[in-house]
Amino acid sequence: MTDLLQLLIAGLATGAIYALAAIGFTLLWQTSQTINFAQGEFVMVPAFFALIAMKLGIPYVAALVVAILMSMLLLGAAFRYAVVGPLLNRGVLPLVISTIALGIILKESVKDIYSAEAQVFPTLLPDRNVTLLPGVTISLAQIGVLVVALITIGGLQWFLAGTRTGRQMQATAQNPTVARILGVPVERMILYTFLINAGLAAMASILVSPIYLAKFSNGETLGLIAFVAAIVGGFNQVRGAIAGGLLVGVLDNLAAAYVSTAYRQAIPLILLVLVILFRPQGLLGRKEERAV
């Protein structure tokens, strides 16, 4: 029983990070039909922005801010205009290819320019453990991850539902053509989603790197899992991505403990296939009209 609790907590903490990455995925998909295969690298890179900033003598907290801003500038705005912009009207495939290539570029750049080795990434919170129950321990870092991730997600939900800009973004996500007719500045809304995606990725990066170290290849697994989480939860719903992320995080841990460590990765993937077979819109997704 305590084992199960321990696994659930660890799974939720990891899952919260997956959720941050998965939300960005669904946002980009909704507003611009972008399937971002570089999403994992988007989570890997900001940690290195912070490391570079610290090497230049910028103090830790300021370096984190720099990382988030750099991420929004390069992985948000520049990505929107230099990569996605020219391909937006050419269908999904060129964009898929381009983001695959972008992922390779980001990964190789970090490796060749910074280092191929894992880097220690400092944490905001002291490296201490809290014992919840006998046998159930959680580290402060994990609590931090959960709290920050939940605040970020809550803030995002509030922004989308409670502000004018947020509602305009949702209108854009649901139907850009109608949104444009209603006077929503669709172009700006699309840019906002890219900025939010980059911001969320940077948050995920800052949260994950102290625990799992910063390394150029971290994006491979993270990207794959965020992708799976987004599909499982529902590609067209932000709350679907959140649920998907948490679910995959927990499932991965339970599978490793109770099924097989060798096949732990397989369980979320099998879930993915089952979802596509029986509930293709995702667990919490909206059903879309049959066309053809």
Binding site: E289, R290, A291, V292
Partner: protein
Amino acid sequence: MTARLEVRDLSKAFGGVAAVQGVSFDVRDGEILGVIGPNGSGKSTLFNCILGQLLPSAGTVALDGSDVTGLRPSTLNRLGVSRTFQLLQVFPRLTVRENLILAGQEHRGSRLGRLFGARDAGLGPEADRMLEFFRLGALAHEQAGSLSYGQQKLLDAAMAFMSGSRLVLLDEPAGGVNPTMLAGLRDRLAEINRVGATFVVIEHNMEFVMSLCTRLIVLAEGRIIAEGSPAEVRTNAAVIEAYLGH
């Protein structure tokens, strides 16, 4: 006269909005039935539900007496129903002749036979005949995308007849076609109708509809508000109200 197509109580709603509500009508063998109505009255949705592009929320569609509700468009097409779309739909990177052959090939022989058999699925002569009939012969080997709008519209219509379908649903065949070509198109359609094809035509161009169709139904807000010969419909008070009321 028997009914080729029977539509009964057909409804379609998108979310909470009802686009088509309880529409019933028959299409009789050999007629040219016009479907008119103001913009947004549900004409294209009706077509899409009949042809399996959309699943109707309620109601049935029967072809030659057998139920075909919800069958996929390709199945319906192989059962002998063709259509055109409101917006231009040809394959721009295929040649004009290839477009026509494609339109007929799925009705020829078995799928495996088509893989091993003739490259044109034996449709070459027929495609050439159709090209001549629609006065497109000179353009046979041009890419369809390089044709003028009117020519593409002709090709679009011609493709609907390559399968030898006896029931053809045309969604705004006259839209954007210049008056000279329009007369030609009307003559072609009338001629095909004489040799045995039944048509359902959605059209905004009243002159075209009145001179081509033998019978009309009028849709407004998803319901049939009038039905009858062109002359009857023209003087129907409800129709005038529906058109002018907007």
